[in-house]
Amino acid sequence: MNCSRVRNTLSEYIDGVLAPSVQYAVEAHLAACAPCLAECEAQRRMARVLIEMPRRQLGPEFDAALQARLRDLDAPPQRVSLLDRLRRSSARAWSPVLAPLAIAGLAVALWRPMMAPPTVTPTPAMPSSPLASRKYVTQMVAAHQTLDRLRDVPESEAVDDALRATSVGDLIE
């Protein structure tokens, strides 16, 4: 084993992880090569210095601060209304795209029945008879009730429902 190879294995030799045959070869070389032995000693000294470096201790205030932060994590999530959620989400980077789309989707879903011919759109449709009128009003009331109910649902569920909904019919269901 030559000097270059020994220098490349000194790190692992000092850690004692070399295969026995390689370790014996390194030891044989070190016994006959003063410069490599000196290098090995230098690395051993450095290893000792590193392991003897003073260690720091955290003070009791660390535990108190950590406990306070963990308690905050455990606090129940605040219930946020759908309107507030949409308002807050408008500050997010993606919201300029998604929030208006969601609102536009709801608006279209609400208005489409009134604009479409009664024969094409089964429900909800513009009332064409007393019976249809009653059905239409019932659906609109149900839609508003659903929207009211969503305000009491935890924010993530409410927004998910609203974003999933493609029509008022979806919200009612």
Partner: protein
Amino acid sequence: MSATNVLFADRCHREEARVFDEIVQQHKNRIYNYVCRMTHDSPEAEDITQEVFIKAYMSLGSFRHDAAVDTWLYRIATNLVIDRFRRRKRAVQSWVPLDEESDPLADLPATDRGSNPAAAAELTELQSQVQRAIATLPAKLRSAVVLHDMEGLSYEEVAEAVGCPVGTVKSRLFNGRNLLRRKLARYVEPGL
């Protein structure tokens, strides 16, 4: 939820909190020391250590039970520290590189160090130089040297903690030690 379920959930939660508190008490100083070494005793070290345990608490459910808790925590710490380096780059830039002119022991005869009455002060200074030399290492080499040579982790544990193969750990250790060895030559060479 029935009253029994509420009580059971509450008990589980309290038990989880107790176990987690034990983890904190067992490992907080080791993690803190690691973060200190990695950030050159940055004032942020304590804050980063807190972050480590917050993240650990939040991801308790995803903890692989075949992994050791300490390597898991070291891994979280490593990711947090490197993330801070990337975001700010302030820590690395503020670290003063070790150079000949800044060495306070440069004028002291090397042979006098062992018997000098001020040996304790010199040792403190040497340790300061070592810490500064460590701070100049690239982050990946530094984490390998600190975890293995200062925290006492095995190659395999370091590999788990930094998320790389054992062979890479060996290579990083080799390069990191050689860099340190050159920076600290005057303190570690035989006959000094």
